[in-house]
Symmetry: C2
Subunit: 459 residues, 2 copies
C-alpha cells in the first residue's frame, strides 16, 4: 500500500470509530452527549452568577469567626436543601478568630497624610496611643540585613515591587519577623499586588517563637513608593500606626457540603469545591465565593438534568482557608478512613474568570484520562490540562494520595482585587463564571460515572 492510501485507510477507520488514539478516547466519545448537555445547561442562564451575587451582597465578607460567615453557611445549607441535593450537612471545625478593630496609619513627617492601610491577619495591635516612630524603608530582606544597624526603634517598611504573588508574599508573611529581629517596633509592607488605586491588600502573616511579635500592616503601593522617595531625598519619615487588632479564642464554624449519591459505588467520592470564608474586606466574590458557587452549581445542574453518576459527587465549601486552613484540615481528619475511596478532589480558588482548563496532580495514567475527558471542554476553550495543581483546601487529602486538580483561569486581574475591598461581584463576568461551572461539571461527572476508577499512582 502506498503511503497516501495507508493514511486514507487510517483516516477512514478513525472516522468510523474503529481506531482510537488511546483507550481513554472512548471515554470522551461515550460522554460527549452528556457533557454537551451539562455545558449547554451551564451556559444557558446566569443562575450561578445570580446566586453568587445574592450571597455576597447579603452577607458581604465572610471572615472566620464572624457572624456573616455563619449566617452565610446557614443560608447555603437551606439553599442546598431547596436544590434537592442529597446528604446536605455541616461538619463542625473550630477556627481562629482574629479581629481587626479600628486601625490607621498616619504620616506625620515630612507632611501629614492619612495612609490607607490594612492590618495583616494575625497581627498584634498597638498600644491605644499607637506607635509613633521614624520609618526605615528597605527594598528587600537583604537590604534590611545590610542596614539592620539603622532599624532599632523604627518602623520598617518593606517597599517591595510585585513580581509574582508566590514570591512577593514572603514580605507579608515574614516581614514582621525579619523587622523584629532587626529591632524594629512595627513593620509595614507595600501591598502585594501588581495594580493599585490606593488599594491596601490584606492577608495572613506569621510570628516566630523567640522573636518579639510586632504589629504588621500593609500600606498602598502608591504610598510605599512615596515613602521610598522621601527617604531617597534624605527626608525623615515619621508614621503613627494605630491598630486595635487582637486574637480571640477559637470560634466554631463549619464545612458545609451536599451530594449526588452514586448509583453503583456510593462510597466512591469525587469532591469538588472552594473555600467559603474570605478576608474581612470587600465581598469575597472572586476569592472565593465564586469558586464555591461554581462548584455547587456544577452539582446542582446534574440534579436539574436528572443525572446520577455511578459514584458520589460531593460539593464541599471549606471554611477558614484564609487564616488557618482549619476547614481543609478538618475535612481530612473527619474523612481519613474514607480517603482510599476519594477518587478525585477538585478545587476552584483562583477566581472565576475565563477558564482554560485545570492543573492536575496524580499518576501519569490518570493524567492521560483527565486530559482525554477534558477534550470535551474544547468547545468552551477550557480543555487544557497542565501537570501540577490542586488547591489549599484539598492539599491535606492530596497529601494522603487523593488525585487533585485546580481550575485554571485567566489570572490577568486576579491580584488587582484579591484580598482587597474591591473583590466585589462587579469584577466578575456571568458568562465566564458559567464556563467555570461547565468545566467542573463535565470533569466531575465523567470521572464519577466512567467504568474504571481513576487510577492512583502505583507506587
Amino acid at each position: 500500500m502506498k503511503r497516501t492510501s495507508f493514511l486514507i485507510a487510517v483516516l477512514a477507520l478513525l472516522l468510523a470509530g474503529r481506531v482510537s488514539a488511546s483507550p481513554s478516547q472512548d471515554i470522551a466519545d461515550q460522554y460527549r452527549g452528556v457533557a454537551n448537555r451539562l455545558i449547554d445547561a451551564a451556559m444557558n442562564d446566569h443562575f450561578a452568577f445570580e446566586r453568587l451575587t445574592e450571597l455576597v451582597d447579603t452577607f458581604g465578607s465572610r471572615f472566620s469567626g464572624s457572624q456573616n460567615l455563619e449566617d452565610a453557611l446557614d443560608w447555603i445549607l437551606e439553599q442546598m436543601q431547596a436544590d434537592g441535593l442529597d446528604n446536605v450537612h455541616a461538619e463542625p471545625v473550630m477556627v481562629p478568630r482574629w479581629v481587626r478593630g479600628k486601625e490607621s496609619a498616619e504620616l506625620l513627617e515630612p507632611r501629614g497624610r492619612d495612609l490607607p492601610m490594612l492590618g495583616l491577619g494575625g497581627s498584634i495591635g498597638t498600644p491605644a496611643e499607637g506607635i509613633t516612630a521614624e520609618v526605615l524603608v528597605v527594598r528587600s530582606f537583604d537590604e534590611l540585613e545590610e542596614r539592620q544597624g539603622e532599624a532599632a526603634g523604627k518602623i520598617v517598611l518593606f517597599n517591595v515591587a510585585f513580581t509574582s504573588y508566590g514570591e512577593t508574599v514572603a514580605y507579608r508573611r515574614e516581614g514582621a519577623i525579619a523587622a523584629s529581629r532587626a529591632g524594629a517596633v512595627a513593620s509595614l509592607i507595600r501591598s502585594v499586588g501588581p495594580y493599585s488605586q490606593q488599594t491596601p491588600h490584606t492577608g495572613a502573616m506569621a510570628y516566630e517563637d523567640g522573636v518579639a511579635a510586632i504589629p504588621h500592616a500593609a500600606i498602598t503601593v502608591e504610598d510605599a513608593q512615596m515613602l521610598q522617595r522621601f527617604q531617597d531625598r534624605g527626608e525623615p519619615i515619621v508614621v503613627r500606626l494605630k491598630m486595635e487588632a487582637e486574637m480571640l479564642p477559637d470560634s466554631p464554624s463549619r464545612n458545609v457540603m451536599a451530594e449526588i449519591r452514586g448509583s453503583e459505588f456510593p462510597d466512591q467520592v469525587i469532591v469538588l469545591g472552594g473555600h467559603i470564608d474570605s478576608w474581612d474586606v470587600g465581598q469575597g466574590a472572586m476569592d472565593d465565593g465564586g469558586g464555591c458557587v461554581a462548584a455547587w452549581e456544577a452539582v446542582r445542574l446534574m440534579k436539574v438534568l436528572g443525572l446520577r453518576p455511578k459514584r458520589t459527587i460531593r460539593v464541599v465549601l471549606w471554611t477558614n482557608e484564609e487564616n488557618g486552613l482549619r476547614g481543609g484540615n478538618g475535612y481530612h481528619d473527619a474523612h481519613l478512613n474514607e480517603l482510599d475511596d476519594h477518587i478525585l478532589a477538585m478545587e476552584s480558588d483562583g477566581g472565576v474568570f475565563k477558564p482554560s482548563g485545570f492543573g492536575f496532580t496524580g499518576s501519569d495514567e490518570a493524567y492521560e484520562i483527565i486530559s482525554e475527558i477534558a477534550t470535551l471542554l474544547d468547545r468552551i476553550e477550557a480543555g487544557t490540562i497542565n501537570r501540577g495543581g490542586g488547591g489549599a483546601d484539598i492539599r491535606p487529602i492530596m497529601n494522603e494520595g487523593v488525585p487533585g486538580m485546580g481550575l485554571q483561569v485567566d489570572g490577568t486581574r486576579y491580584f488587582w482585587y484579591h484580598h482587597t475591598d474591591s473583590d466585589t461581584i462587579d469584577k466578575l463576568d456571568a458568562d465566564e463564571m458559567a464556563r467555570c461551572v461547565a468545566a467542573m461539571a463535565v470533569i466531575a461527572y465523567v470521572v464519577a460515572d466512567m467504568p474504571q476508577r481513576l487510577p492512583r499512582a502505583t507506587s
Copy 2:
C-alpha cells in the same frame, strides 16, 4: 511634458525648497532645526517628571484655600527664579475655601458596611449626628421624576453608569438640586468614572437659589451598584451620612508666572500653562500638576538652550480651576487691556499621557499655520491639530478673541484617577511627559518667533 516628467520636475523643485505646499510650509522648514533641538532637550532627560515628583510628594494635594497650595506656590516661585526666567511673579486672587472635615457614609440596612465616600466640593455638611434615612436609588433624572412621590425624607442615590465625563458629570453637579426638589434630605451619586477599585471621585457641585441645599456626596461604583441590587430585591436600604463640610470665607491665593521676554515684540505674549490647584485628595499629579510642570519645563528648556524668541513666552500656573475658576478669571481681569496682544493661549489639562497633538480654536488661517508648525512634532507622533480646543483657565481670555489650544493626550485611563486619591505620580510615565513638554515647547516657540503674528478671526 509627459505626466511622469512633470511629477519629477515638481519633486525636484520641492526638494530644492522652491515650491511649498503653502506659505506656512516655509515656517516649518525654517524652524525644523530649533524644533529638533527643543524636542531632543525635552526627551533627553526626565527633568520635568522629577520636578513634578518632588512637587507632588512635597506638597501633596493643593486645594484652594489650603496651606499646601500656598506653600507649593512659594516653592514654584523660588524654583522659577532659580531657573533664571524673567519677570517671575505672582498675581493675587481670592479663592473659595470649602473644607471637607470628617465625613463618612455607613450602610445600616440591609447590612452594616462603611461605604467609602467623598463629599462633593461645595456641599453643606450634615448635623453632627448625621442624617440617617432610607435610600431611594434611581438610574437617571427621569427616573427620579417618575418616582418623586417616593423621595420625600429619603436620601436619593443616583446610580448612573459612566458614559462620558461630560454627560455623567451632570449628576455630580446638579444631583443635589434635583434630589432636593423631590423632597430628599441628602443625595448621593455613583462616582463619576469608568473604573473603580472602591475609588470615590470628588468634584464640584452646585446648589440653586430657591431650592433647599442638602448634603451631596459620592460613593463608589461598586457600592452604588450593590445598593441598586438591594432595592431591586425589595430590601430596604438605610444609610447614615455624616459630613462636617462647610464653606469658609474666601481666602487669598495667587496665579504664578514667569517669562522669556521677547526680543522684538515683548508686549506680544504667548501664554501657556495649567492649573496648579487640585482637589483635596491624592497628589493632583495628573490633574493638573503635570500640565503645569510640562508647560513650565517647555519655557525652561528655551532658557537652557539660550533661545529668546521675538515675542514673549509666559508660563502661567493658574489657581482655583477646580472649584471656582478664580485664577482664570483673575488673569483675564488683570490683563484685560493687554489681550489684543495675547497672540496665543495654550493649556494642558487633560493629563500628561502620550500626546497626539492639540485642539485649536481660532481662525482658519491660524489653524493652517498651527497645523504646519505641528508637522515639526510628527517625529514624536504629536503633530495632529484638531479643530476646537482650549482649557478652562484660558477660556475667559479666549472669550475675548485670543486664539486658544489645548494639549491632547491618550485619555484611556484619565478618568480612572481624576479627582481621586489615586491621582498620584506613579500613574504617569516620564517619557510621555517629556513628549508633552516637547509638543508645547515647539508650538509656543515657533508662534513666538515667526515673522508674522498669528492671525485672529477677521470678523
